[in-house]
Every structure is written in C-alpha cells, then in structure tokens.
C-alpha cells in the first residue's frame, strides 16, 4: 500500500515521460496519416482498399528506405532525449526539487554522465544477450525436435528479460550514486530486498504494456471508428501505467 502510494505520487514525472511518448506518436502518426490519405485521394484505392494498396502504392519507389531511415533517426533522438529527461527526473525522484524548468536544467547538467552510464551498461548487456541468443540458437538448430526452436525462443526471451532487469538495476543504482557523488560511479552490487521489489515493479510495468498493447491490437483489427479510438486510448493507458511502475521501481532505489 505504501509503495503503491509512492507510485501514484510520481504521476507528474510520469506525465513528462508520457508526453515524450505522445510526441513520438504524433511525429510518426501525422506524416503517415497525411501520406496515406494523399495516396488514396482520387484513385482506385479511395474506393476499394485491398492488400494491393500495400504493394502498388506504399512499397513503391524509395518509400520503405525513407521510412526506415526516418524511424532510425527518430529512435536515436528519442533515446538521447530520454537520457536527458532522466538526468532531471532522477534528481526530482530524490526529492531535491520540483518544477519543470529546474528539471530541464538539471537534465542538461547530468546528461553526459547519464549517457556514459547508459553506454557502459548497455554494451555488456547486448554482448551477453547475444551469447545467450547464439547458445539457444545452436541448441534449437541441432535438435531434430521441431518444438525446440519455440522452447529455445522462450528460454532466450526469459533470460533476456532477467538480464535486462538485472542490468537495469545496476544501471539505475549507478545513476543515483552518480547524482549523490556528483561524479560517475558504477554499481554491480545487489541488495536482495530492494532488487526483488525493483524486479517486481519492472515486471508489472512490462505486463502493463504487453496487456494493453495486446488489447489495443485486438480492437484495432476490428472495423469501426469508436473501436479505433478505444484501441488508441488503451494503448496510451498502457504506456502511462507502464511508466508509472517503471519510475516507482527507480524511486525504490533512491
């Protein structure tokens, strides 16, 4: 109960994170919607929409390449900006101040150290997940049993999530230590109780996303404007809830 309250207390910070995700949505949605609408106006696909639209219009010319480059660029900026925001949010989580302007300026001060920490923790994580992937891949491809790839995929994903939680724990602890000490400080130590709570919150946060995204997809595959809006809202609620629990898990370590 106590912890749940603390989760809800952080809703202002969560809103900032969520707004970033909403901005991302708009940056992708607006050009896509404009492009799609422009492609149906006045032609056959404005009357009858079939899969031909995908192949005859959307994948024509350099469209897929442009889209991929656009997405890659957005992803890069998204991650940079998130690290920047987190620089301020962590200070706020420690109760040092409130208010958006202060948050933004602290974000700028902490940005470089947070960026470095992100690199330091994400590189070994990627390498480790790669090794796990190779290993499970090897087992999957050498067994006559065709159920093996599925079993190995589950094993691979489970390990990846556990690794991710573990690294996220170290990464987050290091971010707090960095702020307290005003210099880069690494962390590999695990204290049982905080870690378990941290892992628990992280898992809830991911579950939020998965469940709501799933529901949203189910609604979006049906026809109807109302269902479309409902699908959109569900997804956004999922994202908000996910960030709420994520920040709560961080708060636990402050």
């Amino acid at each position: 109960m106590q912890t749940l309250k603390s989760v809800l207390k952080e809703h202002k910070l969560v809103t900032i994170l969520y707004l970033q995700e909403l901005a991302l949505f708009l940056i992708v949605f607006i050009p896509l919607a404009v492009w799609f609408h422009s492609q149906i106006s006045r032609n056959y696909f404005g009357t009858t929409l079939s899969v031909d639209f995908l192949f005859e219009v959307l994948t024509k010319g350099g469209a897929p390449v442009v889209a991929a480059l656009f997405i890659a660029l957005i992803l890069f900026l998204f991650i940079l900006f998130r690290i920047y925001l987190m620089g301020g949010i962590f200070d706020a989580l420690m109760g040092k101040y409130s208010g958006l302007p202060r948050l933004m300026s602290e974000g700028a001060t902490n940005f470089f150290r947070f960026w470095l920490l992100f690199m330091v923790y994400s590189v070994p994580l990627l390498i480790l997940s790669g090794i796990v992937g190779k290993f499970t891949g090897y087992l999957a491809s050498h067994s006559p049993n065709q159920a093996m790839p599925v079993i190995m995929m589950i094993a691979n994903h489970t390990t990846a999530i556990l690794l991710l939680v573990l690294f996220s724990f170290w990464h987050t602890t290091a971010r707090f230590k960095t702020l307290v000490n005003r210099r880069i400080k690494f962390s590999l130590s695990i204290q049982g109780k905080p870690f378990l709570w941290f892992a628990w919150y992280q898992l809830i946060s991911v579950t939020f996303l998965v469940v709501f995204a799933g529901l949203s997809v189910i609604l979006l595959t049906r026809a109807g404007t109302l269902l479309m809006i409902a699908g959109f809202l569900l997804m956004q609620i999922g994202l908000y809830g996910r960030n709420l629990f994520k920040l709560a898990s961080y708060k636990l370590l402050s």
């Binding site: 992708v28 919607a33 696909f45 031909d52 790839p149 996303l209």
Partner: protein, 648 residues
Amino acid sequence: MKKMILILIVASLPALALDYNISITLNPKGENISGTETIVWQNTSDTATDILPLHLYMNAFSNNRSVFAVESGGKHRGNRMDEKETKGFGYCKVTGILLNGENAMDTFRYISDIPDAESLGLCWKDEVTKTIKPDRTIGIIQLSKPLQPGESVTLKITFETKFPRVFARTGYWQTFFMAGQWYPKLAVFQGAKGWNCHLFHYNSEFFADFAHYTVSLTVPQNYVVGATGYLENETNTGNTKTLTFAVDNVHDFAWTAWDHWKVATDTWKHVKLFLLYPPGHEGTVQRQIEALKAGLSGYAELCGEDYPYKKFTLVDPPMQAAGAGGMEYPMLVTGMFPSTLLPAGVRIPEMVIVHEFGHNYFYGMLASNEFENAWMDEGMNSFATAYAMERHYKYDVDFPFLKMDGFDEARMGFASYKGPDFPGKAAWEFSPAGGYSNLSYNKPTIYFRTLENMLGREKFLQIFHTYFARYKFKHPTPNDFLSVVKEIGGEQAEDFVRRMLYTRDIIDYAVTRATSRKTPRFLGLKDFKPIPETKKDKKKEKRKYENTIIVENRGDFRYPVTVVATMKDGSRQEFEWDGCGGWHRFAFESMSPMTVAIVDPDRIYACDISLKNNAITLQPRTGSSMTKLALTISQFVQMVFNITSLSI
C-alpha cells in the same frame, strides 16, 4: 466405378519402353549410397542411336565450377552451398558399366571431358559457356554399334552417390536424407530430333520418360522410409532392413530416410495418404492433411480426373533441412512448415503442399519438358494452386485486417517485373538478373485467371479437362496446349495465351478523367428573345449533374471492358467500351453527383498491371481505414520504442 476408370487409364497406356531396377544401401555415416542399377531401354522411335546419355544431376554439387554452381552463385532459394567445406559437397560417381553383359566402362565419358561435345547434339548451342568446367552432370556411353529402332539394350551400372548437405532440393542433415535425382538417369530420346538431354541448370527442373521402377533400399533398422511407388516387400537382416518399392508409369523416383520420422496416415477416396513429419510437428498434422486433401479435390475439379495412383506421400522436412522442402516427385512431394508458431491465418504451408501435390498432374502425369518449357509445369501448376486454394480456403493470408489470395500475390509479383523476358523460354535463356520465377509462376497464374474470367468457368474448365485427358502420360508441347485452347476457347483465347507466353503484352485499363458538376443555369437568349427569369422558374428548376468519364486502354489487348459510375445517392450507371481507339469519353447526366468512376469493376482482367489507375474517386471512402492504418503503425512504433528504452 472409380476402380474401373483406373484400370482403363492404366490399360490405355503404351507399353513402357524403359525399366529401372535399382538396389542400393544407405550408409548414413558417409552420407552416401552405393549399389547397382539395371536399365532396360527399348528404342521405340524410328531412328537409330549410337550413344546413351545419362543424367548425373548430383554432380552439380561436386564442385564450384559446375554450370549449376556458377549460374546460382552457390545459392538456391536462399540456401547457400558451402564452398569452404567440401564434406558438404555431393556427387554421383559411375564405377562400372555392363552393356548387354559386356564391360563398357571405357566408353563412358563426362560431357565436359569430350572435346567436341557440341557435335553430339545434346544440349542447345548457346546453352553452355565453354569456360564453365568441369560440369559432370551428363555422362555419355558410346555404343559399339548403333541401336536400331525396336531394339533393346540392358545397362548394368554400379554407382556411388554422396549426398550434399541439404541444398537445392536434396541432401542430408545429421541422419536425415532426402534423395532426389540420386541415380544415373537415362535422357529422353526423341527419334529424329535426337536426345533431349540438357545440363543441370540453376533455374531448370527436369524431363524424363515414363518407366517401370523397382527400387530396393537397404537402410539401418531404425530408419523410417518414404518413397515413390508401392512397398512390395520388407526384409530384415541384422542391423539393416531392405524395403522394395515398385511402380509403373512414373518418370522419377525419390525417397527419404530418417530415424526420427513420425508417420500419420489418412485416406482420400481410393488414395492412401502418408505424412512423414519431424518430432515436434504433431500439432501441424491436421493442417497438413487438410491441405493435401484440398489439393486432391481441387486438382480433380480443375483437371477433370482424380489422382490415379493409390498412394501419396507428403514429406514435411525438418527446418534445418528446409532446402529439401517444396519439391515435387511422382507420388511423393516435400512441403514446408517453417514454424509451429505460424498462425492459422498464414496458409503458406498449405499453399506449398497444394502446389507440390499439384505437380503430380502437370510435372507427374502430363510431364512436359521442364528444361525447355518451365511454364507448362510451374505456370499451369501455380495457377492451379491458386485455384485449388481459393476453392477450399478462399485466402492464402487470412486475417480480419488483411486478406490475400494466390491471384493477388501473383499479380503483385508480376507487376514488379520490368525485364525483357517472357515465359516461353528455356530455363537457361532467362536473364540472369532475374525474372525466371516471376514469369514462370506469377504471369501464367494471373493470365489464366483472366482467361477463366473471359471465357466463364465452365468453358475454361473444359480446356483443362480436355488437355489433361488428351495428353496425360504423353509429354505435351506448348502447341498441344494452344491447340486445345483454340479448339474450346476460340481464336481470341488462343491469341491471348500465345501472347502471354511469347510477348510482353499487358492489360492496363485506366480512368484518366472523371468530373461531375451541376448543369449551369441557362444564361443567354432563349430563342433569341430576352425573357426575364422569374423567381418561380428558379425554384422549380431542379438542376441535374453533368458527368464525364474518360477511359484509356494503356495495354496491348483490345478487349471490351465495363465502366461503372456510382452516384452519391447510390445509383449506378454502367457502360461498355470495346477497348479500341485508345480512349473513350462517356458523358451522362444524373440527379445526384458522381462519386466514383471505375473501369473493370469486377476485375475480369485479373492481370491488369496497375489497379491504382482503374478508378477515379471524387469522394474517397477509405479515409478512416487510412487513419486506422497510420494509427496502428504509429502505436506499434510507440510500443517498440518503449520496449527499447526499457532500462533508460
């Protein structure tokens, strides 16, 4: 009744002039087989011959300089031939030849070892570059005296075949074996035209005479075997067992052996069905059997006759041996089930099964020359696949938000083709830059669908029924098919198919202008007398809409087409245009404004190369779908980004 028909089919066949009796032992550790083969061949033509050419297809994988290896660049359907590891190479080595009982090994030579091989008249002149060497996919036995018409010859060949690591349809993976094109195989003698015997080309499939086969396979005791033909006998000796299969009227023999195979059986009418699947695929058995039955009934409807053999084996290879998947042999084909997680709405495995089964009609029983006319097998069969899939499943891809049938896939594939080729070419005559599969599979599929729409299903089926009934087991040529099309479908139908095969002619109708505006109020002198307009007149006058539609025929065929205009109040106006003169204008009045002008609304011309220009929409109706599509993609990006930033 059905049995009677079967007996009649078999009785009506010419006596077989070719007999294979093969006896081999599988050595799993060495990934090879060795044994003997007795070929009895009678020269039923009216021309003598002094050579016997043998296909040794497996030698395509014996080095990186074979015609196959060079043409493919070491790749087949996305699978790589591993050049660095020679253990993965394969070959078929002839170690002894007895010709009518006498040693003839010293007269045997590989084609690329013969200096003036072209004088043998086997391959086409431009078929092979002289720089490609050594290719050992053809072996020639020189006869001491010519074999006269009516005479027979008995060849006893001892041979060893080493399988490549599964690549291009055949090979091994661990203890799994898929044996296709694994034995020395006699070429086809066409009398005065000589031997029809081509090198093994990357794009090419096969051509052979119908024969009687007796094949004895000796495999380790714990192996499960699937093969062409009927199991006649099984004997056990210590650690091994010998299975003997025999069958009449097939032109190839394939088998598979694996100690992990699981077997499911079922029946369809008179046919006993076997499914060999790997452990872990238990959950897919029902889907695979259903697909096989969909193929059996779909092709019976299209070709007018049930599959005549009493046995059929479907092999579902393990994914590690995916290169063996999706291949046809008489009475045995390999399917492909990429993952047990594949949703039921993605019917790729079903499509592959229907397609490969279907080859038993075009490749198996009609057996045209696939070297030279791939479309007669792959093209007709791809159409038939889409036809049978549509009859049973309706769609190949079937989700609430995405539906796609085989004809959609083929049209979009073909629409992407910009090259200079057409289907009526030999496999190796296609530009190496690509186009072979698009033209051999996709183009005939949508052009035949167009023909079906133009003629009506009944008449169209009559063409296929007649063609199959007349030419089964007779190796028909393109002209045989065209003559049936002309006989039943008429001259225009024949012209359409001919141009599909030998030209780049396309169909493309387009609406290039559509306008709808209120008839302007009359201004001017009525009967040259100025009459002041009264208010009453204004009110009374209900102004109509003036509509114009301009349609163009941008394609090469002058066929009539329907043009439909839909008005805002739901009313419709239908017009016919003969398709001649390049373009045509339709003008008409309506009470409600026109919202859509569309040419060929029922998609009779399924091969229309561009759908986009088939209509002009004055008021788009698909706007909300577009918003939804954009929404779905944006939310997906949102979700992926959120997961990517999991620990930030």
